[in-house]
Symmetry: C2
Subunit: 364 residues, 2 copies
């Protein structure tokens, strides 16, 4: 297994071990569906080598019968479905938070820790129904076959989703991405895809599913991926508290122009993506070139994929000079974004959904 | 029927015809469940006089069999349930938006157009299942027996919710409020209670339910209760566009101290409510006395009512002087509130969830 999987040469590698990489904005925005070679990679441990023939998925916990399924059994004995879904890392846009105050030990993501793919597999609920969900099961906990090393211990990355979400048809155990078998860095041979939730819940290299009364006890559910108030830091954090992340918040990002790009005076195309969480939909994107005094409503790309991002674009009229272009989205629950990164800063650097800002120089 | 139902003498009447009234903050915050006499009243038309014995609810549209049910039939032939739910008018806090720019023709609500009650009735889905939901039914449309007059026409107030919401167990056809029969101004003898949605969808004096492929064609679904971008006004609005309101956004309000209250130096109690929409929960409330430079995390009142507001309180240490106290909430989807009312201003004045602000004088 090469340390660096075959990714697009333009990919930005944020760390090599574990492997973390994101595409630059102009490549990310080229297509509605993100090619695998441009799809962000977010790992906490190794990329395991898994022999697909010997692979088995275990389903246990509060079920009527434990299951142990081969990949062929999952493919052949259960219905198949395809969902076009966007996955976004909870740490996407962390760089903007790092400019407010340091966030040591976390990946310095720009706004590319997001991607959209056609995920083909088996609806999770089909497998859970085959196992028989016990009444007390309130969460589906997933653990991966990767190895995260922490304090001289090695364990698989894990996380959970509420049982109602696990039983929703859009949550799949995916073995294909964009019509091709999953590649190792994206979770081959089988991964969870939990649309509308932070990417961390879409556990890769899925080893087992455990139905239980409580959320996962994995480090990445009980410690990481929690939001704390701004006055709390690593030393003062009470991990029992903190906002346990689940559904994504509303967010819009400008992909073009890129940061510090030189543009020509006149109508300048501004393009980006927008996303929200749960079953909500992006309803509007606003763009401003005067710091939010006045706004232009962007055109949302047509589409009928409720679990995917909405691409958007508009034209802004610029005269020669320096500009900050900002964008914000609104979702179907009338939530919108806070203005400033300091208003959402938290010491782990999650869920920056402050207005996205791009500085450009406009020449005559 | 008296024009003015028996409400608490402290109620603030915003208009007499139609009747619109809200409680002052200090009375609203006295209890988790809002007494009927303090519960806000939001009407667009008359308060109809309905003979409960002759009352019939019609269920039609995309159903297998049309139903026409008396109140006794609804009470006796269907399961009963009670939901503790908060209703909030989409125009709550409009006063703050009106300070940004005029919003003519709309009710000048302070932050009291919200209340929490125990609603007892029949789950809507039980009635819909009895009628048999046709596959193409995507929305449940409700119309009331009140009379709204507009352009020389009279019609009942109406609105709709998506069928998935209509089939969720928390949506009830309520005939009791806080253990008493519904009073006329709150929708007697039967009303919808759709928790997590703007109050307008909880149609009072329910005349009929129609299952259909599209949202309600009632004025209050197609025109009112839509959010437009800040640059759009009554004359430029394209009513086909606009964000059709449904789930509530995240919001926190300071109830005590009240506006311009004199407080004594030292630890000053700050109390309020917070709410969010859909199936999300309020996870945190922050309070600041320095304009958002530093924040105190409030204590959330314990409780296990997923469809109700969260009451909160904290202490802030004040020295003599003038202060602006601000509050903001975070919900389980990591959404929080924008800082300024101008950032959410819209010409109909809906869904102000900017940071709530109270000015106080602190004496030594």
């Amino acid at each position: 297994m090469p340390n660096r999987p075959e990714k697009h040469p333009g990919m930005i590698f944020r760390s090599e071990q574990p492997l973390n990489a994101e595409p630059p904005m102009e490549l990310l925005r080229q297509s509605f569906t993100t090619p695998a070679e441009l799809f962000f990679v977010r790992n906490h441990g190794s990329i395991p080598e898994i022999d697909a023939d010997r692979y088995r998925l275990s389903i246990g916990g509060m079920v009527q019968r434990e299951l142990r399924l081969s990949l062929d059994e999952i493919r052949e004995q259960f219905p198949r479905s395809t969902v076009t879904a966007t996955l976004q890392c909870a740490g996407n846009r962390r760089q903007d938070l790092m400019e407010v105050a340091p966030i040591p030990g976390e990946v310095a993501w720009s706004a590319g820790a997001i991607g959209t793919a056609e995920w083909r597999g088996t609806p999770l609920r089909e497998v859970l129904q085959a196992a028989g969900v016990e009444p007390g099961a309130l969460h589906a906990a997933f653990t991966g076959l990767d190895e995260v090393e922490m304090e001289n211990q090695a364990f698989g990355f894990g996380g959970s989703i509420p049982i109602e979400k696990a039983m929703s048809p859009e949550v799949v155990l995916a073995y294909e991405m964009n019509g091709e078998p999953l590649t190792p860095e994206h979770g081959a041979p089988l991964r969870v895809v939990a649309p509308g939730y932070i990417g961390a819940r879409s556990v890769k290299w899925l080893a087992n599913i455990v139905l239980q009364a409580e959320p996962s006890s994995n480090y990445y559910q009980t410690h990481a991926y929690k939001i704390f108030p701004p006055q709390v830091d690593e030393e003062t954090a009470d991990w029992e508290k903190g906002l346990m992340l689940g559904e994504l918040s509303v967010n819009a990002v400008i992909c073009r122009p890129t940061y510090e790009e030189a543009v020509s005076a006149g109508p300048v195309p501004v393009q980006g993506y927008a996303i929200t969480g749960g079953e909500r939909s992006v309803e509007r994107v606003d763009v401003s070139t005067d710091g939010g005094e006045t706004w232009t409503t962007a055109d949302l790309q047509e589409g009928n994929d409720p679990w995917a991002w909405r691409l958007w674009e508009t034209l802004v009229d610029l005269s020669p000079g320096r500009y900050e272009i900002v964008a914000r989205a609104w979702d179907s629950a009338a939530n919108t974004q806070p203005e400033l990164a300091e208003q959402v800063w938290n010491f782990k650097g999650y869920m920056d959904n402050s207005w996205h800002r791009i500085e450009v120089s406009c020449t005559g």
